[in-house]
Every structure is written in structure tokens, then in C-alpha cells.
Symmetry: C2
Subunit: 355 residues, 2 copies
């Protein structure tokens, strides 16, 4: 025999009994189905009934239990953010953007950092998706370009949106900036400053943006009858340390030096600048340096770094918007090609100047 559950007072000593849909129904004198209708703003409820239910719900501080809704219904109100990115600033902005949009629809965010090099990656994602039903997943590089990741998510039948994907652009909805054009404009900026001998530090090869940025660089060069010189194009991995390494080989004794260096991201530019300072190469007097991303450190180092601003938080917001609007599937439930390209910004500071 279940004791009638009435209006609850907080139990002294912690622990409250929360009221349920049954409590509201009883107090309002309707069925739980009607309460459900009111809570979910379904049509076909008499205004008077609606008010009665509303009042009862307010009085009891009723909040629908997410877990129960998920189990019974088709939505979980949970969004998953999968990433493997060592840059806190990027992750932070992503999370803010996703949460801002998710909250508009009463969704919550589960963060699921993954090790993109784990041999178990696919199994761990499949297992995760079987364990906790998610309404959708947001994927950032490099995960968004990994076949096993996409396969696991598609197999589970969970909608997903990718941020800055490189491979299979039409495979899912996505959000990006135009990395090619951004790098193109940055290169044009250097050329406009009189630079002809421009070096380039490539990004991590597993990140699609690395290739796109280099593509934009080369495009701008060629349009100006210039060619990238192999000895001035160095492989980096997006890290501070790899920027130092690139600088070391770029500034090798005796070798001819470019007058400007375009680093595929800011951290490598920082490493490069630190190394330059150590060996007495002045920036921007001796060499101009530009980066990409506009991380917070860009105005911490001296000189402040000329760079490209990527609206990461807005990209995350847009990705979540695509997910929640379900503007992602056609009538057959197949993902439709939806790509939102957001504006970037060329931020001119002091690390590059007229040659």
C-alpha cells in the first residue's frame, strides 16, 4: 500500500521528495495525461484546464523528471560533445556555445573527451551511445574526420553535426569558417606589406584545417606570381614546441631567411617568436610573424600577434542549432547537406609589418 503522496516539505536533515506528475494530476483533479499535455505545451487542452494544471504544478514546484521522460519518450534532452583537443580555450568556447543554445531548449550537455589515438575508440563510442541515449552529438577535429567515429555514431542512429570537418563534407551537417579564404586573406595582407619571401609552418596533418590553410596560402602566392619555397615550408603539429622546432630549422645558420612567416596557428607562432628572441632575431623588425586562431595568449606575448579570429563559440552555437532544429534530416531520415560558414576576422596587431 503506497501512502498518498501529498504536498511535500523538505525533510529536515536533507533530502526532499520531489513531486511527480501524479501529484500534480491529483491536485488539479485531472489525469496525468492532461498534465503531460500542459507541460509539453501540446494543443487540445481547454484553457481552464490548462490553468488549473499550471497552478497545481507551480504550487508543488513540479519539474518533470528528465530520466523518466527520456525513457518513455523519444528524446533525452542530452547533447554530447566529443573532442580530443589540447587547447583549453577552444574547448571552453565550444562548450559555452553549445550550452547557450542547448539551454534554450532545456537540454543539457554531457562532455565526452576521447583519445583519438585509442585503438578502442570505435568501441568506446558505440558503448557510450548504447549506454546513454543522446539527442545528438557535436564533433570537433580531429574526431570529426575519423571514419570509425562517424561509423559508430551513424550505426547508433544518433544525429550529429560536425565542426570544421575536412573529409566527406556532405556526410553530415556542419559548421565551419572558410579556412582557405582566411589564410588567403592573411597572405594577401603580408604581400600588401611588401613581403615576397614568405615562410609557412604547417599545422597538424591530422587536422583538416592544416591543409586548407596551406591551400589558401599557396593560392594567394600564386595569384601574385609567387611560389612557396620548400625550404621555407616546415611541418608543425600545432604545439608551442613544434613552433620552436620549425623556427630552429627555418633560422639555421647560413640559410637564407624569409621576411615573413605565416604560422598555421598561434601557439606555433609563440614558439617561433620565443626561439627568435633567443637567437637575437627581432620581430617584427627582422621578420614578420602571423598566426591563426587568436587565442588569448596572442595579446600576452610581445609583440602582439597578427592573426585570424575564429568565432568558435558562435560555431558551437550554430552547430547545436542545426542539431536541435533537426534541419539535419530529409523526409527519409537521411542527413541533408547543411553547412553553415561563419565569418572570420583578420586581426592586425604588431607582429607583422611593412618590409
Amino acid at each position: 500500500m503506497k501512502p498518498p503522496s501529498q504536498i511535500k516539505a523538505p525533510l529536515s536533515g536533507g533530502g526532499t521528495t520531489t513531486s511527480t506528475i501524479n501529484d500534480v494530476a491529483r491536485l488539479a483533479g485531472v489525469s496525468i495525461k492532461t498534465v503531460s499535455r500542459v507541460i509539453n505545451k501540446e494543443p487540445n487542452v481547454r484553457e481552464e484546464t490548462r490553468q488549473k494544471v499550471q497552478e497545481a504544478a507551480t504550487l508543488l514546484h513540479y519539474r518533470p523528471n528528465l530520466l523518466a521522460r527520456s525513457l518513455a519518450g523519444s528524446r533525452s534532452f542530452l547533447i554530447g560533445l566529443f573532442y580530443d583537443n589540447p587547447v583549453p580555450h577552444y574547448i571552453d568556447a565550444m562548450q559555452r556555445g553549445v550550452i547557450r543554445r542547448a539551454r534554450e531548449d532545456n537540454h543539457h550537455l554531457l562532455i565526452e573527451p576521447q583519445d583519438s589515438h585509442s585503438p578502442d575508440l570505435e568501441r568506446s563510442i558505440s558503448s557510450l551511445l548504447a549506454t546513454v541515449r543522446l539527442d545528438g552529438v557535436i564533433l570537433t577535429p580531429p574526431l570529426c574526420d575519423m571514419a570509425v567515429v562517424l561509423h559508430a555514431i551513424e550505426t547508433a542512429g544518433v544525429p550529429y553535426v560536425r565542426v570544421s570537418p575536412f573529409l566527406n563534407p556532405g556526410r553530415s551537417p556542419s559548421v565551419r569558417i572558410d579556412d582557405v579564404t582566411a589564410a588567403y586573406e592573411m597572405t594577401l595582407h603580408l604581400i600588401a606589406q611588401g613581403h615576397r619571401d614568405i615562410g609557412f609552418i604547417l599545422g597538424h596533418p591530422e587536422h583538416g584545417a592544416s591543409h586548407l590553410r596551406y591551400e589558401g596560402f599557396v593560392k594567394a602566392l600564386r595569384e601574385n606570381n609567387l611560389e612557396p619555397r620548400a625550404e621555407w615550408v616546415k611541418q608543425g603539429f600545432f604545439s608551442y614546441e613544434s613552433g620552436i622546432d620549425a623556427a630552429r630549422s627555418l633560422f639555421a645558420a647560413g640559410a637564407p631567411r624569409p621576411t615573413a612567416i605565416f604560422s598555421s596557428n598561434d601557439y606555433m607562432a609563440f614558439g617561433l617568436m620565443a626561439y627568435a628572441q633567443q637567437i637575437g632575431v627581432r620581430i617584427p623588425e627582422d621578420i614578420s610573424v602571423v598566426g591563426f586562431d587568436d587565442v588569448p595568449g596572442a595579446i600576452l606575448v610581445w609583440p602582439h600577434v597578427t592573426t585570424i579570429r575564429q568565432p568558435v563559440e558562435e560555431m558551437a552555437y550554430a552547430a547545436t542549432d542545426l542539431l536541435l532544429n533537426r534541419a539535419t534530416e530529409d523526409e527519409n531520415g537521411k542527413p541533408i547537406e547543411t553547412t553553415r560558414s561563419l565569418p572570420f576576422g583578420l586581426i592586425v596587431r604588431e607582429s607583422a609589418r611593412q618590409v
Copy 2:
């Protein structure tokens, strides 16, 4: 009539039917209760039965549905991280630590950034906790020192652990470093370098650490027969900009200057250093500067900043450990005073030197 659910193949076109406890029970020829026992590693199952169930589960790729477990049982496998902190590096480290420990027990992390200045804070937390049942909550400054926040969580009866709390230390289990001693040792370090005239930039007054760090500073001074000088103690707010403001008033024309400045965190030290550079004050030649936290930027600026390293990720791990071990309640369900204090590190770099 429900069609018998058998071994499932991925539906072409996306969407798999996942197998349930019923499928496993049927295949193994046992009741669902027995499957439940095996999955939850409960005792009293014949080894032979256990194996049969295990095999069936493996064959069907069975993963217990988290939502169903939560609804039926007393655990949700969800941990909430509440914060309102603008420093990405800190949040990132917190999240990593929590997730690392949470995964050991198959828990997931829901992140719930809050606006600590919102008038709705208490209601929004209460509502959140009523909506999604959490197994526990981790609280960081400044939220961990807000009465309304603690009240909302306690009323909901959800266990919580605080990181670096200042107020009511015994009110809940917590994890911290000894900010007083850290600041004390840093000050001693400066004194050992011959500094007697030491300025101090206070942290944000809403963060408990601000007061503790100042306390350690004063303690070290007094033990050496020194006194803080009011005109050299400036209010800051943990931000880069507030460091600039502090520097501006500290370096006001004509005023006597300290030989060293202890900034309550690194960002303010960065602001201070940038301002110093602008007005031609050399660091560390003219003035030594030290910070606190060891954020990534500390080795980006020049000179690299002498600072205190806080093991944020380990603190988060420890906090989650306290939560999951339930070493947090006594036999009456009241929280027991458990505080773990983790070691900090004095990181000596180039921004401070012998006077």
C-alpha cells in the same frame, strides 16, 4: 502484441535497435533479475549461470540503459560540475580530473556553468536538481562559497564536494591546497632574494583564495619584522585588466616603488608586466614580479613568471573520489568533515630575482 525481439542487425539507413535486459535473459534462459545480478556484479549467482549470462550479453552487445537504471534505482551515474570561472585553463583541468575519476566508476559528467550574479541562481539550481537527478555535484569558487547555492543543493539532498572553499569549511567534504602556506612560501622566497619592500595585488574579493593568499603574505612579512604598506597593496579582480590598473597606481609618478610585487594570480601579473614594459620599467631588473596559479601563459610572457603551481586536475580527481566513495556521509547521512589538502609547487622562473 509485441514482436519477439531477437538478435538485431543494424537497420540499413541508420538506427539500430539496441538489445535490452530482456533479450539477454531470453538468450541465456534466465530471468531478467539474474541478468541484473550479473551485470551489477551482485553476489549469489552460480558461476555457470554467470558465464551463460555473460556470453549472451557479449553476443548481443548488451549495454545497460543508463536512463532506465537511474529511474528504477538510486543512482544516475551522472555527476554535475557547477562553476562560474572565466579561466578556461582552470575549467579544463577541473573537467579532466573529474572525468578521469568518474569514468573509473562508469559515471558521466554534466557541466553546468552558472552565473553567480544571477538573482535566479538558487531557483535555477533547485530546478536543475529536480529535473535531472545527479549522484553528486562538484562546486568550485566562487559558487562553493555562496549560501544560496549550498542551500539549494542541500535541500535537494544531493551530495556535494567543494573545491577550495573559504566559508564554512566543515559544511561539506572539500579539496584544496594550502593557499596561506603557498603565499607564505612565495613571500619567503622574495625575502630570501633580499626584497624588503614588497607590494601585493589582492585577488577578487568574492574568491576565498584572495584572502588566504594575502594572509600568507602578511604572515611571512611579519615573521621577518616587516609590515605590508597600504600604498603598495592594491585591489585587483584576478583579471589582466585589473593588473594593469594596479600597476598604474603602483607606478604612479613620484611615488616610491617596492622592489618586488606579489600578484595574487598570474593574469594580473601579466597585466602588470605589460604596463611596466610600456612605461619603461624593466622586469626583473627594476622590479621583481611573481604570480600564482601557473597558467599556461606564464611561460609565454617574457620574462617567464615565477609562480605557484596548483594541481587543479588532481584536486578535481580527489573531489570526485570523495563523492564516489561516499566517504562523505556518516551513519546519519550527515556530511562528515573531510578535507584533502594537496601539495602545491613553487615554480621559480625569471620574473623575480635577487635585489
